[in-house]
Symmetry: D2
Subunit: 266 residues, 4 copies
C-alpha cells in the first residue's frame, strides 16, 4: 500500500498549491490513501466546512489537524459530522468535539490514522504517549496498518515518540514546524519516520505568514497582526510511504517538495 | 570560494564521525574554509581544550558554539586564547569571555564568521538581530564574505533572521535542533539559507542522547540523567556552499548527510 | 477543626526554622491537623527519609511535595512506605511511586489531603483539574473535609482552580513561588484560598538560594551552581484555617509569617 | 517624602475603583507622589488617551505600564506627548515610542521613576539589569530618590533585581501577577521591596478576567475570548512608602489592600 501525506496547508496560496498539485502528485505516485494536514488552511488558523470539503475534493481521504484546530468557530458546526476529519486525540477527554483517529477502508485493508499533539513548547493537553497506548489497544486488532501525524514543536519529542512506537505503527510523520526535515528513515521495527513533512503555502514568507510582519515582531517586540498572503509563489511539501500489506511494515519513504526552486517532475 | 559546514558534534561518536569523515568530505569537496559547530562535543555538553584542538586537527578552520558553550568549566581556561573558537555573539556584553565572530583569511579574501543565538524557547540573552547590525557595521568593509551560524530552536526565528539579512551575508546556516532540514535555498539577495544543518553523532538515539533515557523522561516526567553513548552507528550532517569571490553572493548550497542509511559516496 | 499549613521548607535553615518554630506555632494555634510542604528540604531539592521523619517529629501530620519530589534518588527507597507523604497526584498514572492524597483521622473526622501540581510554566504532567475530579469522586463520601496543596507557578492557574472547586473543598493553599501572598480569603462556597503560603528557609536570599549565585545567573546567562546556605537569618511562612466540623466550610484564614522583621508573637 | 503606588488597573471596574478610592487613599496618606500602573486599564489590554487622562485626574502623577503597553493601537497617537506616562525602559532601543523613565519634581526634590520588565516567562526584550545600569548612570546625580516599577512574572527575577539594586534606589515594587504579596520589607541598603503590589479591578474574577472564561480555557485547552467584566465588586491594591528626603533611603513600607473583605478605613 502506498500513502501520500501532505503537510500543513496554509491559507489561499496553500489551497491553490493543493488544488493544483495534489492531483498531479496522485497521478504520479498512485497512492491508495492520501492524508492532508489542514490546520492552517483558513487564513493560517483553523478550517471551515467549505475548506474541509475542498481538501477532500482535491483528492484527500483524511484531513488531520493540530494546535490550530479550533481557531475558527465554524468548526463546531461541522466537526461531529465530518467523518474524515481528525484532530489531536489527546485534547481533553469527554469534552472535546470531534475525534482523534479514524479507520479507513483501503481495498481489503483497514488503516488507522491517528492525530496526536506534542506538549513541549505547546499547550499542556493530555499525554500523547499514554493516549497512543489507549488508542493502540483499541484499534490494533482491527487495523492492517496505522499512520500517525504527530504534530509537535521539538525534534526531541517527535523522535522519542517514533522510537517509542517503532514496530507498532507503519509511520510517524511530524507536522507543525512548517519546515521539511531531511531525516526520513525506516526505524529497525519497520516504522517510517520523518520529523516534519513541511508546509504547503507561500514560498517567500515565514512559515506562511507575511515576512515583513514576522520580522517586525522580532525587531519591535510589540503586537503585530500576522497575515498569510493571497498571492505569490507557493510550495507543497509532504512524503510518500510504501508499506507491506501483510505486515504493515514500511519499506520505503520518500520526500515530496515542490517549489519554484524544485519544480514538479512527472 | 567553497565553505563546508558541519553541524553540532555530539560526544564520542560525534568525535569519531568527525575524525573519520571530515577528511573525506574535504577531499571530496575541496573547500577553502571549514566550519564545525562544537557545542556538544564533550559528552553532549560543552567543549574542552583537547576537543577544540581535535576539531581543528580533523580539518576545521573555525569552531562555532551555542547554548552549551559554557557547560564545561574548562572552557574558561582556554576560550580567550582560542583564536578559532567563537561563541554566540549576543551573550551579555562586556562580561562574557570569548568572542562572537572572527575574521579568517582565505587566500586573498577575508571571511567573517559570526555565531548568534536565538531567544525563542531559549535563554533571554541580547537581541540577535540588533547584535548582527552592530557586528555587521563593524566588519562589512573588512570582509569579502560573511557566514552566520544561527543557533536557535524555532523555524520562525531562523527564517525571519535569514530574510532580515538577505543580501548582506553569504549564508545563514541554522544549528541546535540536531535534525537536518530539507529547505536549503538561495534567497533573492544571494544569501544561502538552511534552517538546520543537523548533528554529528549517534544515529540511533534521540538528538545524540541515549534514547531509553529520553523516552523515560517523556513517560515519567521525573528527573532522568541523560547521557550520550560511546558506541553505535554514527551520522555526520552539514552543508557545502559555493560563493562568488567578487560579490560574496552564494550560487549553490548542497546538503551533506552521511549515515548507515546514506553511506558516504566519493 | 483548625489546620496549620507551612510552606516549602528549604535546606538547613528551613529545617532549623521548622524545628524551632513549628512547636511554638502549634502551641499558639493548637491545630488538630498540621501539614508541611517538604519538596525543598534536602538542600533545596527533594527529600530524604531522615528529613521526612524530621518533619513529622517537629509536629507535622502530613508532608506534601511538588515539582522537586523526585530530585533526591533516596525517595525511591521510602516513598511507598511513607504513609504521611504525598506527592502531586497528577504525575503520570500507574508509573509514579507514592500517592497523591491521604485520608487522615482527626478525632472523629476524616480529612482528605490532596497534593496537585499546576502545568503553566511547569512540566506537562496530567491535568490537575481532571485529576481533582477523579479523586474527589473517590473520597468525598469518606471525608468530612478536604484540603488541597496546589503547587503551581502562575496566579491564574491557582485562582482558576480555587473557583473551580469552591464549595467542594475546605481550602486551596498554593505553594511553589516561595513568596507569601496577601490574598487570603474565603470564597462564596466556603473554600479558603491563598495563592501562595510562602517558604520556610533563608530570609536574605532568593527563594532560599544564595543570592549572589542567582543574581550571577541573571547577569551572565551562563551555567551557575545554585546552593542553599546553611547559615543566616530565617523565615517561616504558612497559614491557619478554621473550618466547621459539620459542613467542612472554612470560616477563617490567617497568615503565619515569621522573620527577623516580623518576630514570633506568642 | 511619601509615595503611594497603585497596582495594575484593570478595565471598567478598575477605573471605578481608582476613581472612587484613590482620592480617599490620598486624603488618608497624603503622599507627595502618586504612581499608578495602567497597563490593563482599557478592557484589560493597554491604555487610551482618555484613560491616561482619567488616571491623572483621579490623582496620579506618573503612569507606569508593562507587557500590555502597546495592546491598543491608540497609544501610538499620544505616547510621545504623554509626559507622565512611562513604559518598560528595556523595550528595544531607538525603535520603541515613548520613554522608560521620567524625572518628577516633588517640592525641592527630584524623583526618578523607572519602569522595567522582566524576561522570565515573558517576551525576550533587552536585559532589565543592564538597562537599569544605563539609566542609573544617567540619572543618579540628578535624583534625590529613584522608584522602580519592576513588571515581571517570577518571584526569582523580581527578588534578584531588588538585591541587585539595594542601596541605589528607594524602592522596587513589582507588578504583573495581579496578586499582592505579603513580603514587603526594607532591604539592608534602604531599598523598599514588594514582589507584587496586586491589581485594581474585579474582586470575584481571575486576575480581572471573567472567571468562567478562564476556567473554561484550563478545562478545554481551546481558544476562549477573555473579557473583563463591567460590573461586580472591586478591589484596589498598592502600597505606601516613606523615604528620607536627605538619603533617599526608605524607612517604612505598608500595604494598601481594599476589597469587600477588607473595606477602606479612614
Ligand atoms: Fe501548522
Ligand atoms: Fe501547528
Ligand atoms: Fe547542539
Ligand atoms: Fe544547542
Ligand atoms: Fe518549592
Ligand atoms: Fe516547587
Ligand atoms: Fe497587568
Ligand atoms: Fe503585565
Amino acid at each position: 500500500m502506498r500513502i501520500v501525506f501532505i503537510g500543513d496547508v496554509m491559507g489561499p496560496i496553500g489551497q491553490q498549491m493543493l488544488g493544483d498539485y495534489l492531483p498531479k502528485i496522485k497521478a504520479k505516485f498512485r497512492p491508495q490513501l492520501t492524508i492532508v494536514n489542514g490546520e492552517n488552511i483558513a487564513n493560517g488558523k483553523g478550517i471551515t466546512r467549505a475548506l474541509y470539503k475542498m481538501i477532500l475534493s482535491s483528492g484527500a481521504d483524511v484531513v488531520t489537524m493540530g494546535n490550530h484546530t479550533f481557531d475558527k468557530d465554524e468548526i463546531y458546526d461541522f466537526i461531529d459530522e465530518a467523518s474524515k476529519l481528525i484532530r489531536p486525540a489527546n485534547y481533553p477527554k469527554n469534552v472535546t468535539p470531534g475525534k482523534g483517529y479514524v479507520l479507513i477502508k483501503v481495498n481489503q485493508a483497514t488503516v488507522g490514522v491517528i492525530n496526536l499533539q506534542g506538549r513541549v513548547f505547546l499547550d499542556s493537553i493530555d499525554d500523547p504517549f499514554a493516549k497512543f497506548e489507549e488508542i493502540y489497544t483499541e484499534i490494533k486488532d482491527k487495523c492492517d496498518a496505522i499512520f500517525v501525524d504527530f504534530h509537535a514543536e521539538t525534534t526531541s519529542e517527535k523522535i522519542a515518540f517514533s522510537w517509542y512506537v517503532d514496530g507498532r505503527v507503519s509511520a510517524v510523520i511530524g507536522t507543525h514546524t512548517h519546515v521539511q526535515t531531511n531525516d526520513a528513515r525506516i526505524l529497525p521495527g519497520g516504522t517510517a519516520y520523518l520529523t516534519d513533512a513541511g508546509m504547503t503555502g507561500p514560498y517567500n514568507e515565514i512559515l506562511g505568514m507575511t515576512k515583513e510582519k514576522v520580522i517586525e515582531r522580532f525587531l519591535l517586540h510589540r503586537p503585530v497582526r500576522f497575515e498569510t498572503p493571497a498571492e505569490g509563489p507557493g510550495q507543497i511539501n509532504g512524503c510518500v510511504i510504501d508499506l507491506n500489506d501483510q505486515t504493515g511494515k514500511t519499506s520505503h519513504i520518500e520526500l515530496i517538495s515542490i517549489s519554484p526552486d524544485h519544480p514538479f517532475i512527472d
